[in-house]
């Protein structure tokens, strides 16, 4: 696969998804970039903005297996990863795969489950494998977790632990549609669109899972200039010394930024990364990996503000400015 093929495929996938999911261009692009960079996505947004639809459409267009888990306070880890069940006929334990054994996993309202259940995903997300009773089983490739959380409700929720958050490559905010987009959605529905019957849309299967793996491998091979590497390191290191942050991003953030930038560069038809790729993805990569100082929180600052401040302070490589 060359860069032009990569870009063409990427554009085709995006166009197909946009046929079903209107007005969420950035969300779609970031989700695809995360997928191609072998990352996972945490979506934050109000209900009804199309998060579930995105995963279903992705599964259809990418010809991938797709599952959904509704996280609830009584959800157990075995409900996610599966468990050993005694087979009376054979007189032995059979492993019953949980819903995590899929290619696209939608973890809906992940913060409604307690930390124990959330942590069941840790190994799956990082190692792409599941260990039950000492037996490790690999997950199918490609593997993408898209978790959602509702920012409005706080009663009865369990905030995700830092270790869990760090596993997500991007944290994206799903924006409410504008008036025009809202109108377009309504027109689509008037024309017969039904989110429960995606078959009627005749969405094309643009690529196979094997093709997707090819794309992932291609993105990893893109050239990254030394200046870009230094730029990424500068950004991430500054999060650890920022006055409004009491903890900064981990090296995992640097790696995520690097691979994300590679995937974005490939999606734009380039075989090298530019500072724009890094700058565009930095907020999505860093915002959930840092913690605000209490006084900064009182002042109404957000982690996005801190990231923006850091990006303003870091010198872009090859700039002509003094």
């Amino acid at each position: 696969m060359d860069t032009n093929q990569f870009q063409a495929t990427f554009d085709t996938i995006r166009r197909e998804i946009e046929r079903a999911l209107v007005g969420q261009t950035d969300l779609i692009e970031h989700a695809l970039i995360a997928l191609l960079a072998r990352g996972h996505v945490l979506l934050e947004g109000a209900p009804g903005l199309g998060k579930t639809l995105l995963v279903r459409v992705l599964g259809q267009v990418l010809a991938c297996d797709c599952r959904r888990i509704q996280f609830t306070p009584d959800l157990m880890p075995s409900d996610v990863i599966g468990g050993n069940v005694f087979n009376q006929q054979r007189g032995a334990f059979d492993f019953l795969k949980g819903p995590v054994f899929t290619q696209l996993l939608l973890a809906d309202e992940i913060n409604r489950a307690p930390a124990k259940t959330q942590s069941a995903l840790l190994e799956a997300m990082q190692e792409r494998q599941v260990t039950v009773d000492g037996v490790t089983r690999p997950l199918p490739e490609p593997f993408l977790v898209m978790a959602t959380q509702n920012p409005i409700e706080s009663q009865g929720t369990y905030p995700l632990p830092e270790a869990q958050l760090d596993r997500f490559m991007f944290k994206l905010s799903v924006q409410s549609p504008s008036h025009d987009v809202e109108t377009a959605i309504l027109r689509n529905h008037l024309a017969g669109f039904d989110a429960q019957a995606l078959d009627r849309l005749n969405l094309a299967r643009v690529i196979t899972p094997a093709g997707l793996l090819d794309m992932q491998n291609h993105a990893r091979r893109l050239r990254v200039d030394e200046g870009i590497v230094s730029y990424i390191a500068d950004i991430v290191c500054r999060t650890r010394a920022h006055r409004s942050l009491y903890y900064g991003a981990s090296p995992r953030a640097s790696i995520a930024l690097l691979h994300g930038a590679q995937a974005r560069a490939a999606s734009r038809g380039r075989d090298f990364v530019i500072p724009d790729d890094v700058k565009a993805l930095a907020p999505a990569v860093i915002r959930h990996r840092v913690g605000l100082q209490p006084d900064a929180e009182i002042e109404g600052m957000s982690t996005d503000d801190c990231v923006a401040e850091i990006l303003r302070d870091v010198r872009v490589p090859e700039t002509i400015a003094a």
Partner: protein, 661 residues
């Protein structure tokens, strides 16, 4: 805008002054004497004399008269003139001697004074602005240093800033030089830098260290979508060179450079069109670009005299200063000096007085070549305008025929002279002299200077003999040589350029006939104002004012408290403030107990009484300096108190809530 306007006006004034003081050397270096015919052939062989090489060269009606006199017959020296005379091409300029009719009005003393005052004020304001800028720069440096105490880092940043080139032309030149040296990657960077600097100058982008190329493209797209596409192409190529792994080739650089220069040219396109229109407007009626090399010009005459052994120098200083010692004067070598007054030289009483003093105090000669002027009485001759037809031949006097031989002189319709009996006619038409000389008795400077005690004044009815076309007619060239030879070989020509150095700028503009040029300049300034607005005339990279905002100050103060573990102190302050506001808002007297206040606030906000009471107690303890207990969360209490204030009417000052609870 006012400052920009001032800068523009000042620019005009300074430019006009600069023009006034400009020096032009019109002198020809001394050369070996060449025979007249050979000299003419050599001179008119130059392509500058288009009328000798270009058959379609247009002549003015006045110049056509030279054709009637046989100028086209000298095919050896000027092969194309015969054909030029035959064709119908006609220059639209009827009288080249006075090509620009626009003249600034004469100013009286008050206005002149006003002008000087304005100029002085302008210079003073410029100096003031520079000094203030310098001082501002210094003070801002001090402010910036307080933000970043790392002096080594400062030094590095300052050194880097000094290295940054911001001039577009120099950046383009650097790009070319780097390309020539084979460093195409750096060359592409320099070309792109030139583009960015131009866009910055146009106010479309602001070059900052944190801005990516994509940021610049997006900003340009917002304001000038028409050029964003081209810029995007340039950026793609630049980024490929900067971050890609392929080798950068000459073709790659050429492509980027062409696109960059194309964009730069497009940016200036409107200005150039306007400039062209203005130029066209000003040049209306002047189809030829070089008057000096036209048949009516004098470049050939000056060159001819040079080849004939004369040292010709064009006088720029005013004639009033002719008695001052001028280092570059041809008289400095000790030979006789001759001043030729051409029609373009404007002489008033002061000038004539200076000329008289000059000629009477040395071994000098004065030649007056026509012109519409009244001659002073001491010249002893008067020029009478246009009384002779060009059909009338000009004949040499008997003595001149004897000395010079039988020479023919032919000039177009000419003025005539009226002379006194003590003058002698050298060339004459039937009715009256055409050229006459008179000898003035010199004022002796010392006893040894008594060999030749009189100086020559030669007056010609017009300046036709001093025109290029005249050299090609009959024996005019030889006669001119003979006429001037008696006055010495060092000649100063006083003509159009003489006296450009004048007493005030407006006079300079008037004498230099720069009125239209000044108006064009003013129009250009106006165009720049329109296109660039207030940025015009200001430094491209003015130091941005960096001042800490109040919010930032408060934030910094808060951080200092936090670092010094001063949460307890902060809680004391906030608690006192919050208690007073809450009492005020709940309408409670100061002597009411803390529990009463807690109950009132709890009722108002719906919070548990115990929670409110706990907060108020912690605040009171903190304000009284009671040490915090282990595990106290003072900062959180501050936040809670702030929320409490918000719920009861905001964190601001005196806002009593109506009603007594």
């Amino acid at each position: 805008m006012t400052r920009s306007l001032f800068t523009g006006v000042l620019t005009v004034l300074l430019l006009s002054s600069a023009v006034v003081f400009a020096q032009v050397d019109g002198g020809a270096p001394a050369q070996p004497v060449v025979e007249p015919a050979q000299a003419l052939r050599e001179i008119f062989a130059s392509r500058h004399f288009e009328f000798c090489h270009e058959p379609k060269y247009p002549l003015t009606p006045a110049e056509k008269a030279w054709c009637d006199l046989g100028a086209g017959d000298n095919t050896q020296a000027c092969p194309a003139l015969r054909q030029v005379c035959k064709n119908d091409a006609q220059a639209s300029q009827l009288e080249l001697r006075e090509p620009i009719s626009f003249r600034l009005p004469e100013l009286g003393l008050p206005l002149r004074l006003l002008l000087w005052i304005l100029l002085g004020l302008g210079v003073a304001m410029l100096v003031f602005a520079l000094v203030r800028h310098f001082l501002d720069h210094k003070s801002k440096d001090d402010v910036v240093r307080t933000h970043s105490p790392d002096s080594a880092e400062d030094e590095r940043a300052a050194a880097l800033a000094r290295q940054v080139e911001t001039d577009v032309q120099r950046l383009l030149e650097r790009a070319r030089a780097e390309a020539a040296a084979g460093d195409f990657r750096a060359a592409i960077g320099s070309a792109y830098a030139a583009l960015l600097r131009r866009l910055e100058g146009a106010g479309l982008v602001h070059v900052e260290p944190d801005q990516t190329n994509g940021d610049y493209v997006r900003k340009v797209k917002q304001d000038r979508p028409a050029i964003a596409r081209q810029m995007s192409d340039v950026v793609d190529a630049v980024e490929t060179a900067q971050f890609g792994d392929g080798a950068v080739t000459r073709e790659g650089f050429d492509g980027v450079f062409a696109r960059v220069t194309g964009l730069l040219a497009e940016r200036m396109g409107v200005l150039l069109v306007l400039a062209g229109l203005l130029m066209l407007g000003a040049a209306c009626g002047q189809p030829r670009d070089s008057w000096d090399h036209s048949p009516s010009g004098r470049a050939g005459v000056i060159a001819y005299l040079g080849k004939r052994g004369f040292k010709v120098h064009e006088r720029l200083l005013s004639v009033t200063k002719i008695n001052d010692k001028i280092n570059d004067s041809p008289a400095a070598d000790g030979t006789a000096e001759q001043l030729i007054l051409l029609p373009g030289a404007h002489l008033g009483d002061e000038e004539w007085k200076a000329v008289k003093k000059w000629i009477l105090t040395g071994d000098r000669a004065l030649v007056i070549a026509g012109g519409r002027r009244e001659l002073p009485d001491w010249i002893g001759m008067r020029i009478v305008e246009k009384q002779a037809a060009h059909s009338e031949a000009v004949a040499l006097g008997d003595a001149e025929t004897k000395r010079w031989g039988a020479l023919r002189v032919r000039v177009p319709e000419a003025n005539l002279l009226e002379n006194k009996p003590d003058s002698r006619s050298l060339l004459a038409r039937k009715q009256a002299p055409y050229a006459a000389e008179r000898w003035l008795v010199r004022q002796l400077n010392n006893d040894n200077d008594n060999d030749d005690d009189s100086n020559r004044v030669l007056v010609l009815a017009d300046d036709f003999l001093f025109r290029n076309a005249s050299l090609l007619v009959a024996d005019n060239a030889v006669v001119l040589d003979k006429l001037l030879r008696d006055g010495g070989t060092s000649i100063e020509l006083a003509g159009d350029l003489t006296g450009l150095v004048s007493s005030n700028p407006v006079e300079s503009v008037r004498r230099g006939r720069l009125g239209p040029a000044m108006l064009q300049l003013a129009a250009f300034l106006l165009v720049f104002f329109v296109c660039k607005g207030a940025r015009f005339g200001r430094p491209t990279h003015s130091q941005r004012i960096q001042r800490r905002e109040y919010a930032e100050h408060v934030r910094a103060l808060g951080l200092h408290y936090a670092r010094a573990r001063g949460e307890r102190l902060a809680l004391g302050f906030v608690g006192t403030y919050a208690s007073e506001r809450l009492r005020e808002r709940c309408g409670l007297r100061v002597d009411r107990s803390l529990s009463g206040l807690a109950e009132a606030v709890a009722t108002r906000t719906g919070r548990p009484v115990g929670q409110v009471m706990r907060m108020l107690l912690e605040a009171r303890d903190a304000s009284k300096g009671v040490p915090a207990e282990k595990g106290a969360r003072d900062l959180e209490t501050v936040g809670e108190l702030c929320k409490l204030l918000e719920e009861t009417g905001g964190t601001g000052g005196h806002k009593p809530i109506p009603g007594n609870l």
